[in-house]
């Protein structure tokens, strides 16, 4: 019996049944199909506990939402303290929490002018695209094939057709896509001088973290300047110290006109997102500040959690930990690849953002399952299933990193067996 006070489930099966009945039949069945019967119950630090009580180390982190781990005590205490005084606030008025957080955000990115808040990543992307359109008075948006920016109206239109066609939300006339790391294609897309914005993830997450080639992002930014296009960096998965700097673009030396942050900004406990814009892109805020409205965007409780999150991320102790985790997995995965090179064929890494390549088009689905059976939860890349997203948190300890590597090593024979089955089946 799982008695949560407010509701009760006799067992995990009842939960599956009700999820299929009332929530999302396909998603529920999908996971069972790939051998992952996870229903997250308790959660603490970098660990999740299935309803069965089984412990899993979380390397999915929902794309960095749990950058600090689950329910980090300092964040939880911050939110609890805030709840004794604040609530979501009233989005119509200036507020102490929003002003303070805006100032903090601008402080992390000199050259930026305003922070505009949303509740989720897609909303912040939406704000970014609208801001660029206002600034340029152009309509067209260029994005990367297999890029991912969320599922709201404008953001989903920048993404893969898997998510647009179904809802008749693709708009090929206004939304142009080009291949990643192809600067010539980029120039062709921008050369018309009619593009409002180029939006790209600094490292495309859902595509499996292919690394931008040397100079690619800078060249894209230069093209934007040449053709009067705004450069929007989607930092939803690469921001918040995950690449070793506060923002991923800082590690590549590009200065975007707008960048977007979400997920981990709310510490995994209160949703908040932001589009941070330079003076040009913030122009509409001088003209009609109520042109974008969001009741839960920039809710004060979220602002306070985000404020704390930024403060934590700037501590030298935390930055040192990010470097240590980075080096550990750089060395550790090189070693694993040497030992399991028959199936494990490549590592993409920037800071604690890693994509692990397996030698089969669906390889990462099998590896994800093998890891799951060995107590580690890491998800494959939806848009390139060869690649496993491997996302250690910024506060992972030395002991737990070693445990992860030991479990990874132990899971490889099982992954190998699953992959061989797949290959034979094909």
């Amino acid at each position: 019996m799982f008695d949560y006070g407010l509701f009760r489930f006799a067992d995990k099966q009842e939960l599956f049944d009700k999820s299929i009945r009332f929530w999302n039949p396909d998603k529920t069945k999908f996971w069972q199909g790939v051998g992952v019967d996870l229903v997250i119950d308790r959660r603490e630090g970098y660990c999740l506990y299935d309803m069965s009580g089984r412990r899993l180390i979380d390397l999915h982190l929902n794309g960095g939402t749990y950058n600090f781990g689950h329910r980090h005590p300092e964040l939880v205490d911050t939110l609890k303290g805030a709840l004794d005084y604040f609530d979501m606030g009233n989005h119509w008025f200036p507020s102490v929490a929003r002003a303070a957080l805006s100032e903090e955000l601008i402080g992390t990115a000199p050259g930026m002018k305003y922070a505009i808040f949303g509740a989720g990543g897609a909303e912040a992307v939406e704000i970014a695209l609208k801001s660029a359109r206002y600034a340029t008075q152009r309509r067209k948006i260029v994005s990367i094939i297999k890029g991912y920016h969320g599922h709201s109206g404008l953001s989903v239109a920048t993404g893969d057709e898997r998510f647009t066609k179904l809802f008749l939300a693709d708009r090929p006339d206004e939304f142009v896509q080009v291949p990643f790391n192809d600067i010539d294609a980029m120039e062709r897309a921008l050369a018309g001088g009619d593009v409002a914005a180029l939006i790209m993830e600094t490292i495309p997450a859902t595509y499996g973290f292919p690394m931008p080639q040397e100079g690619y992002l800078n060249a894209c930014k230069a093209l934007c300047e040449k053709y009067g296009t705004m450069y929007i960096a989607d930092e939803v998965q690469t921001g918040l110290m995950r690449t070793g700097e506060m923002w991923g673009w800082q590690t590549y030396g590009v200065e975007p006109d707008i960048f977007v942050t979400a997920k981990g900004l709310g510490g995994g406990i209160y949703p908040i997102s932001a589009a941070v814009v330079n003076e040009k892109c913030g122009g509409w805020l001088e003209v009609d500040g109520a042109a974008h409205i969001s009741t839960s965007g920039g809710a004060e409780l979220g602002c306070i959690v985000a404020h704390k999150a930024l403060e934590m991320l700037r501590r030298p102790e935390l930055v040192a930990n990010v470097h240590a985790v980075t080096r550990f997995f750089a060395d550790g995965m090189a070693d694993m690849m040497q030992r399991h090179g028959d199936i494990f064929v490549g590592v993409r890494q920037k800071g604690v953002v890693l994509g692990l390549e397996f030698d089969h088009p669906e390889g990462a689905v099998s590896v994800s399952r093998a890891l799951y059976e060995h107590g580690v939860w890491a998800i494959f890349s939806s848009l390139d299933k060869r690649v496993l997203q491997f996302k250690p948190g910024v506060l992972l300890s030395a002991d737990m990193c070693q445990e992860i590597l030991d479990r990874f090593d132990a899971a490889m024979p099982r992954a190998r067996a699953l992959l061989h089955e797949l290959s034979k089946a094909a």
Binding site: G81, R315, D342, P361, L395, S423, A426
Partner: protein, 517 residues
């Protein structure tokens, strides 16, 4: 302004304690460093240790001045000596010892692999702050441990400055980040929380008895040492002139701030007056009964020991007590009773030396035992004598774990003027509430994993010479035994790459078709 601005000391929101949160992150940092240090080779370790020692030595005087000015304790000149001894001095002493390489014992068919403690939490006393920072850091590094220095709050600035300098030097010499860290804002509750944290492997506690007991109570393995209260016996067989000179020099060294300093002279009655005369020559001031009473009142108030006198010079203390002793290096207070109720025979940590007469060795021993009943058990004692029987009898009977002979106790018992391990941390053993009875040395920071072969003569011992446990040839990988996936899928041979690519493409297309369906 018209705002209803709230004027309170308390912020409106209850926010988490950032000091603890940062300290907690330091522990994580230290664990990373410890993991890396534990697999670092001897040459690198030696390089790091030397660099750290040099950095400390180079600024020994600066830190001595800073420590005296921050804490108000001690003598700059003497702190310079200690800082030098505890930096290069200590490193040179242990230079030939290897705490890193495996030790092979062919006769016993045993190999010992050094296993560092890991993360050492080093508590730093206010009395000898910088010397102890140097000392504990170097001992920890020699044995490949990461160290977190936890200074006494009254010495935190100078400790932090010194620790940062050492950390810098260590890092430049190749030490991992966070091998040396310092708690910049120490408080008692913070230190207690750190001590109880499971990420700490070893606490090395020097300080007052309450700190040491808290260390042992924390549940974390600890090396804590208790307070001193050293009796010094002077018999009728010693060189009185030399004894007097050594006692005064030792008692005035750094204004008696070492826990090994002499507390009470127990002089054979037959030589007592001559000893006092010689001490006067050595610049001791012998107090009148009134002056003795004034000192008793100054040092021991109704609230207990007056810590304001710690490490102050004789002149200052005399003036504070209400008399003057111009030019005196120490103040000698003759007492009749050598029992704990005579407060002047307790630990004083300032250049006030009690002086009592004993009829002979037996009474000397019982007097020493009596004064140590209150404090000082397991710590230090000294004797000036040329009679081995007296020396043996005294050492066997008094509850001290080290007896300095014909040497000043301050630097004798702490190993700088004897062949004991030179140490800022003096183990007081079981009698003194401690798990160690030696002077703290690097040996206390490392344990060994032992490879032990069957004793039987027909079981041969392995050839371990030259094997480095952290640089063994890669063990054969199971993966190499597995057929390549892509080969399974077909292909192989010279142009297998092209075949493989083609095959992958086909599989991908098929799969996509399946998925899209």
């Amino acid at each position: 302004m018209a705002d209803a601005a709230k004027v309170t000391d308390q912020p409106l929101l209850d926010v988490p304690d950032v000091v603890w949160q940062r300290a907690s992150m330091k522990l994580d940092g230290a664990r990373w460093a410890a993991g890396k240090l534990a697999v670092t080779g001897r040459a690198e370790i030696t390089g790091i240790v030397d660099a750290v020692a040099d950095a400390g030595h180079a600024r020994a005087r600066h830190y001595a001045e800073a420590a005296v000015s921050e804490t108000g304790y001690g003598v700059v000149e003497h702190k310079v000596i200690k800082n030098e001894a505890c930096s290069r001095g200590v490193v040179d002493l242990y230079r030939d010892e290897d705490f890193v390489a495996p030790r092979i014992d062919d006769a016993r068919k045993i190999v010992e692999l050094p296993r560092p403690a890991g993360v050492v939490l080093a508590l730093i006393p206010v009395t000898n702050p910088v010397a102890t920072v140097f000392f504990k850091t170097l001992l920890a590094l020699m044995t490949r441990n990461a160290v977190i220095l936890c200074p006494h709050p009254a010495a935190r600035k100078v400790c932090a400055e010194a620790a940062h300098a050492l950390a810098d030097a260590a890092h430049k010499a190749g030490a991992p980040e966070n091998a040396i860290q310092v708690i910049e804002e120490p408080t008692i509750p913070l230190i207690e929380k750190l001590m109880a944290d499971s990420r700490v492997d070893l606490i090395v506690a020097t300080g007052g008895p309450s700190v040491v007991r808290a260390a042992y109570r924390s549940g974390t393995p600890a090396l804590g040492v208790g307070p001193g209260n050293a009796p010094v016996l002077v018999d009728d067989t010693c060189d009185l002139k030399a004894a007097a000179r050594r006692i005064v020099a030792s008692k005035s060294f750094d204004n008696s701030i070492l826990c090994t300093n002499e507390s009470t002279v127990l002089a054979f009655a037959g030589i007592a007056d001559r000893l006092l005369d010689e001490m006067k020559v050595a610049k001791a001031h012998i107090c009148t009964p009134e002056q003795t009473q004034k000192l008793r009142d100054l040092l021991f108030t109704d609230d207990g020991f007056n810590t304001a006198v710690i490490g102050k010079d004789a002149d200052w203390i005399a003036r504070e007590a209400g008399f003057s002793a111009p030019g005196a290096k120490i103040l000698v207070t003759p007492v009749d009773l050598v029992q704990p109720e005579e407060r002047l025979v307790r630990e004083k940590l300032c250049p006030v030396l009690a002086f009592a007469r004993v009829t002979g060795i037996d009474q000397g021993i019982s007097a020493a035992r009596s004064m140590m009943r209150h404090t000082g058990k397991g710590h230090s004692a000294a004797i000036h004598s040329s009679d081995e029987r007296n020396i043996m009898a005294f050492s066997a009977a008094v509850p001290a774990l080290r007896v300095a002979v014909n040497a000043g106790c301050s630097l004798g018992a702490s190993g700088f003027e004897t062949h004991l391990g030179p140490s800022m941390t003096i183990g007081t053993g079981f009698a003194g509430g401690s798990s160690i009875g030696d002077n703290l040395t690097p040996h206390h920071f490392v344990q060994f994993a032992r490879i032990a072969y069957n004793k039987e003569a027909d079981v041969a011992f392995g050839a371990f010479e030259g094997l480095d446990p952290h640089d063994l040839p890669r063990l054969a990988s199971i993966a190499t035994a597995q057929p390549q996936l892509s080969l399974l899928a077909g292909g192989g041979g010279a142009d297998s790459d092209a075949v493989r690519r083609e095959l992958r493409k086909i599989i991908l297309e098929e799969l996509n078709a399946v998925l899209a369906a």
